[in-house]
């Protein structure tokens, strides 16, 4: 007999540090015990699941054709098609991966350095940023921060290409400190202004995301940021800010917030783990925290997290779903689509996802997915065991008696049972 706390901890491991179990995975991991399961969830291996991934080309679209309405329409159509296929490509990755931890971390960092294709427009710069985030997702934050402060999509998103020495634009400098590295209250308006001068002169070619540095537009006089006076450039500024002790606290809190709790503060010791800015050390410490076994640390799944975990369970590949499923429309209607965060502040969390308006879209999308999904985990068990089989299949720690009662009405109809289980409160929230 497995302890309830083991089921809970494993449910959190597979849903928060991955994107939910593939069929059979939850019981298999449970049988091996939590330490072994944790090691598997947090492992980085060559991922055979990704052999099936098809990466479409994201060519440099160049500038819009001038004075040619026909070419213009075709150009924007292609830009738009690329932006959609980029999002679906990433969803495919999340769904197909056997070791989704790295995707999960990349997804976290996408919300952290939240950049929207809504303004960036082109797929290529967003794809480059996505690869940068994946490269550094479990690396060192010093390197990640250096790479991101020179990332074309991020610079364009925060008006960095308008930031020139004679007319500084503070947007990137401000958000860099407020949202990406230090947190509000750990810098002054003067620091923002001087940091903007340090970041001046970086140009972006919007369609390709290529960044060039123009020394003529860079402020080459010493500026004072957080008490240090020198001529700053992107790398030196990033290094100096990230070296501040506030950075360790801030990043530790951000990870805790998204992986453990949006309401309970992390232990003070967590920031110490991040002294060397080693992201892997930090997230491993979080995954081993005793909070993982305590009931009060539940978190709601965001629409993408819900969709990806459902697709993994049903063995459907997003890019292969027919258009009639309405994936992009339904997911957007639920309020979340990859590469399209609502603001530089990233995605909302918890209660914001548990709205009445989302329900018809979620039920509709689940209904469409179930039509194309593999229901073997339910059809292969006797009716008397199908409700528990659904919990094991989906990696749900435990159904409440309320949910059991509802699911018991569909034991003869596995399709409807699956549809209901995917919409049960215990599946919408990772308890």
């Amino acid at each position: 007999m497995t302890a309830a706390s083991d089921r809970l901890e494993l449910s959190r491991l597979v849903h928060r540090f991955g994107f939910g179990p593939k069929p059979g995975e939850y019981l298999q991991l449970l049988a091996g015990g939590i330490p072994q399961a944790r090691a598997k969830v947090l492992a980085r291996r060559f991922d055979h699941g990704l052999n099936a991934l098809v990466t479409p080309p994201f060519p440099n679209m160049g500038q819009m054709p001038i004075h040619n309405p026909t070419a213009n329409a075709a150009y924007w159509q292609e830009v738009y098609t690329q932006s959609l296929s980029l999002s679906v490509w990433w969803l495919d990755r999340m769904v197909l991966a056997d070791y989704p931890f790295i995707e999960r971390m990349t997804w976290f960092w996408h919300g952290h350095w939240a950049t929207s294709i809504n303004k960036v427009t082109y797929a290529l710069p967003m794809k480059i940023q996505n690869e940068t985030l994946r490269t550094h997702a479990l690396g060192n934050f010093v390197d990640m921060s250096r790479a991101m402060v020179k990332d074309g999509a991020l610079i364009y998103w925060l008006d960095g290409e308008q930031n020139v020495a004679y007319s500084p634009n503070e947007n990137l400098g401000r958000e860099f400190m407020e949202l990406f590295t230090l947190g509000v209250g750990n810098y002054s308006q003067t620091d923002v202004h001087q940091a903007a001068l340090g970041l001046s002169g970086y140009n972006v070619d919007q369609p390709s995301g290529t960044v060039t540095f123009d020394p003529k537009n860079h402020d080459n006089t010493p500026v004072s940021v957080l008490g240090k006076r020198q001529v700053f450039h992107a790398d030196s500024l990033s290094d100096w800010i990230v070296s501040r002790p506030e950075n360790a606290k801030f990043i530790a809190r951000r990870l805790w917030f998204r992986f453990i709790s949006t309401t309970v503060e992390p232990p003070a010791s967590l920031a110490k783990v991040f002294e060397q800015r080693d992201i892997s050390l930090l997230i491993n410490a979080i995954a081993r925290n005793p909070a993982m076994r305590r009931p009060q640390y539940s978190q709601a799944k965001s629409p993408v997290e819900w969709f990806v975990s459902a697709s993994r369970a049903l063995r459907v590949t997003p890019s292969r779903l027919p258009e009639s499923v309405g994936l992009t429309w339904l997911l957007s209607s639920m309020g979340q689509f990859p590469f399209n965060p609502p603001s530089v502040g990233g995605w909302p969390y918890d209660e914001a996802w548990l709205t009445a308006a989302a329900i018809p879209y979620r039920v509709g999308l689940a209904n469409n997915l179930v039509q194309y999904g593999d229901l073997a985990p339910l059809t292969s068990v006797p009716k008397s065991k199908i409700v528990q089989a659904a919990a094991d299949w989906l990696g749900v720690a435990q159904w409440s008696t309320r949910t059991e009662r509802a699911l018991n009405q569909s034991v003869s109809d596995p399709k409807q049972l699956a549809l209901l289980a995917l919409n049960a409160p215990e599946y919408l929230v990772n308890a």
């Binding site: 303004k119 947007n171 309405g326 209607s333 530089v344 009445a356 329900i359 018809p360 509709g364």
Partner: protein, 409 residues
Amino acid sequence: MSPCDFNRRQFLKYTGAAGAATMAATFSMDDVAQAASVTPLPVGTPILVIVTLYGGNDGLNTVVPYLDPDYLSNRPGMSLDASQVLPDLGSGSDNIVLALNGTMTGFQSLWAANKLAIVLGTSYPNPNLSHFSSMAIWQTGSPVEEISSGWIGRYLDGLPHDPFRAIGIDSTLTPLLAGNNRVGSMVPISGLQVPYGSLGTQLKLFAKSSHQDAALVADAAGSIADFYALSSTLTPVLKNAPPTSASPLAQQLDVVANMITANVPTRVYSVSLSGFDTHADELSQQNVLVGQLSDAVTAFLTQVGTTPRANDVVVMVYSEFGRRVAANGGQGTDHGTSAPVFVAGNRVAGGFYGEQPSLATADLNQGDLLVHVDFREVYASMLEDVLGTDAGKILNNWSKKLPLIKAAA
């Protein structure tokens, strides 16, 4: 389509209504549960209707300084002359004669009845020229600090949970209505139908909370309860779908009028109209849109004007920015700064507020209009004098407001 045309509504439209057909197969208007016992909103309770114009409406071709030589010289070929505007509204404190765009006869009648306030030169300090950023500033109500909650969402934060209190007529959550721990409800024009048959009845079993639920699991169950409550109340109310020939805004306001008439306990409604990003061939597009705005709002006020709620409703209309004073090379205008905000209704003290920004080159800031009114002055009036709540708590201690709303009789 240009990149500037991207906004959330169009994004959704473009991503394809392909799913709509499959949704229709699952959800039904006929499967109406009994109307739930919701406490009706007492007559006399003020209601705020917020109209968002996406894309940046050209204030200068809406409330038009048609005699101003600077207006004419800045906009060759796309200025409106005396024959294309309505009779003068008069001039504000600045002596610039203003008249409404010729398509806005409805607003002209509201003005004549003293039910239309025009807040001139409205924006915020250091206007941002990005659609995305500027709309975020207006919707969060926070020009200085970047925050993620909407100003109406923060109004909800201070009150007990009630899925009816603020409703947006759309399918996706408007950032305006997203608070820190409360969220307004979104209702598509077609309503919120529950799934057919056994799926509908079994899904409803999830609405019950369980003593085994963690707090968020209980919230998830609660959202399902909200869904059924909203659906059972609104589905009968919205049975008569608005004519699809009407403009999108008129359709949304038709839904709102039906809900108000049915005493649905909603204090704030959010509706919108898109397409104002007129970088090219502005005249033809913008005339149609401001005409739709004027017609839809006027018809809406006329409709609720025949009910006991005639004096309860206040409509506020804004866009993320106005447009550049000088026309660009394509008979259009680029992103600008300040523009008029409209506030309409029987409770409104009609007239001009603020000041029409001067169009003289020396008075412009890099080709853009100066800002004379901070939009938070309008928001504070709406929060305090329509919604009866402390604006400072919602607008980060902002307290300045305008006397837009008459004291209750």
